[in-house]
């Protein structure tokens, strides 16, 4: 076993790094205006940000707590439809819609968690999978609210009732939310909560002996994951402005799951890297490959191979590739110098 994991080094300026990361993301609209990037990249990077929010939540559950949920897509979709219905049909202010679209999925999530988390972790996967499928079917059937297969539209958010955001404004909002989520989750996992979750995953017996209430912390982790999935759904509907049921299938949940495994379990930047690999790389690069790029399932094949390779060689995710590169570079430099 030669697994190296340097994550215990808590960087002092981690918060500043997150903000700088956000600033860098904000440069995308500027580069598009300058004509250096294609227009479609805004939607692409925006989607990566949106899915990253849900993926960070799922990583909290899968990576830190060792629980698996297969219902991410269902909760995302539920929040997206609620927010769309509240702003378009009910004409409620954006903020109220957000509140509704966060609290309803959270309530459903807590109910599911209470029932399934009392037993072992695996039951959460089964329960969330069923709930997610029920939700997806409901999106198809409750046409009055969801418009069925024709899909539901929504508009860019109007903040505080008068500040109407445009495409770029909404994109900046996405970045702000992502950076906020990164900082909050960073603080949580580096404190008592993170240690409790780690203890729970590492040894349930030790966690209990040290006073960690298992059901409570499983529920908290699951509630946080559900809230972030819902938040991600809200961002989705107000940035993409359109949704229909086939978006929120098990495939979406599995994609987010694979993003975490590919990018980095228990690593915030790794999660975002994984989302980029799973959701953006197919559009950016894979489709350019002659012959294979035209195959409809090609991205799935690449992801599948990637998961196997990552689990074999980088069990903590591709984000640790950077460390090895640095080491390699150090060796090369040492060889060149003398």
């Amino acid at each position: 076993m030669k697994l190296k994991r340097p994550s215990f080094i808590v960087k002092k300026n981690a918060h500043l790094n997150y903000v700088l990361f956000g600033v860098a993301l904000c440069l995308v609209p500027l580069l598009i205006e300058l004509g250096l990037l294609r227009n479609s990249y805004l939607t692409l990077v925006g989607s990566v940000i949106i899915y990253s929010v849900a993926a960070i939540g799922l990583n909290l559950l899968l990576g830190w707590s060792g629980l698996i949920s297969l219902g991410t897509a269902g909760f995302m979709g539920l929040a997206a439809y609620i927010s769309a219905y509240a702003t378009v049909n009910l004409k409620l202010p954006f903020e109220i819609a957000v509140l509704l679209a966060l609290s309803i999925p959270l309530a459903v999530g807590i109910l599911v968690g209470l029932v399934s988390l009392k037993i072992e972790g695996l039951y959460l996967a089964i329960a969330t999978l069923s709930v997610s499928e029920i939700l997806r079917k409901s999106f198809e059937e409750f046409g009055d609210i969801t418009n069925g297969f024709s899909g539901k539209t929504a508009s860019y958010p109007k903040l505080l009732g008068f500040f109407q955001l445009d495409k770029y404004g909404t994109y900046i909002l996405l970045v702000v939310v992502l950076v906020g989520v990164m900082i909050l989750i960073h603080n949580m996992i580096n404190g008592q909560m993170g240690r409790a979750l780690n203890a729970m995953r590492g040894s349930e017996a030790a966690a209990q002996a040290m006073g960690v209430h298992l059901l409570k912390y499983r529920l908290v982790a699951f509630a946080l994951a559900t809230s972030l999935a819902a938040l991600s759904g809200i961002l989705y509907i107000h940035f993409i402005k359109y949704t229909y049921p086939p978006t929120w299938t098990l495939g979406m949940s599995l994609n987010i799951l694979s993003a975490i495994i590919i990018g980095g379990v228990r690593n915030i930047y790794g999660t975002i890297l994984g989302v980029f690999v799973v959701f953006a790389v197919p559009d950016l690069f894979l489709k350019q490959i002659p012959y294979f790029g035209a195959m409809p399932g090609f991205a799935y094949i690449v992801n599948g191979i990637l998961i196997i390779v990552v689990i074999m060689y980088y069990p903590y995710g591709l984000i640790y590739l950077g460390n090895d590169m640095k080491k390699l570079w150090g060796k090369v430099k040492a060889k060149v110098k003398p």
């Binding site: 076993m1 697994l3 994991r5 994550s7 215990f8 080094i9 909050l184 989750i185 603080n187 949580m188 404190g191 008592q192 909560m193 240690r195 409790a196 780690n198 203890a199 995953r201 590492g202 040894s203 017996a205 030790a206 966690a207 209990q208 002996a209 040290m210 006073g211 960690v212 209430h213 298992l214 908290v220 228990r266």
Partner: protein, 270 residues
């Protein structure tokens, strides 16, 4: 529940404790008591029910019958069976595990800080926002953890991940974790298992120093008879879940029943 009174000077009393798995009586009518600041050994051949008795005391198993009285940090006496497993540590009763139960990916310092889980008072929101109160609390407990690690002589490794450390170090980390909660009674499950001779001798010293410094009682299950005889003030021997004898190390060594249990009975004895 009339006799919730625990005699002055006692920290723990087991009263007719029994638990069975299917038809097997793992612990059968076991009673013993531990004085404050006493180092108490529980011995017996393999499968005698020592670890099961431990798990009953710490509520990992729910005993079928019997009472376990414990005097907590504030001098209040309660029956441990009335508490769920995660509340036991709040009373000042903490344990280690036979096969070290640490979190490989976390640093040694963070592993020790898990032992301070119940001392964190700031809410999740305060932690997420990193308010001043939450920060101060973290710093204070971190300093305390470093102090404990220094006391055990492993502070130089505190930033290394627990996974991959030598077994002797891991045992000490587990000890350090128990000390974070200012215990009244520490339960050690085979602390010398896997240690070499020098480490075992050191362990005896450490156990005594912990007792003197923290003023707590220690209950240990151990196979290494040298350690048990060396460190314990009093020993209780059990076999097949049943009480055999209790007394000082010398008395236990001379006891016929204990000898029979360990060495097997001879025809003449019967």
């Amino acid at each position: 529940m009339s006799n919730l009174d625990l005699q002055e000077g006692l920290v723990l009393r087991l009263e007719e404790l029994s638990i069975s798995f299917g038809g097997l009586k793992a612990v059968d009518n076991l009673s013993f008591e531990i004085k404050e600041k006493e180092i108490f050994g529980l011995i017996g051949p393999n499968g005698a029910g020592k670890t099961t008795a431990f798990n009953c005391i710490t509520q990992f198993y729910r005993p079928n019958h019997g009472k376990i009285f414990f005097r907590d940090k504030h001098g209040k006496v309660s029956n441990l069976i009335d508490h769920p497993v995660h509340e036991i540590i709040k009373l000042g009763l903490v344990r280690t595990f036979q096969n070290v139960e640490l979190i490989r990916e976390l640093s040694i310092l963070d592993n020790v800080l898990i032992g301070a889980h119940i001392d964190f008072k700031s809410s999740l929101l305060a932690q997420a926002l990193k308010t001043k109160k939450a920060k101060d609390e973290e710093t204070k407990l971190r300093d305390e953890a470093i102090e404990v690690l220094t006391f055990l002589g492993i502070a130089d490794r505190m930033l290394l991940p627990a996974g991959g450390q030598p077994y002797g170090i891991l045992k000490k980390v587990e000890l350090a974790r128990t000390l974070m909660c200012h215990p009244k009674l520490i339960i050690l499950d085979e602390p010398a298992a896997g240690l070499n001779d020098i480490e075992t001798v050191n362990l005896a010293k450490v156990i005594r120093t912990i007792r003197d410094k923290y003023g707590c009682a220690v209950l240990l299950v151990e196979h290494d008879m040298r350690l048990v005889m060396d460190v314990c003030d009093k020993i209780c021997a059990i076999n097949f879940g049943k009480f055999l004898a209790v007394g000082s190390p010398k008395e236990i060594q001379r006891n016929k029943d204990v000898q029979a249990a360990y060495l097997g009975e001879t025809e003449e004895d019967q």
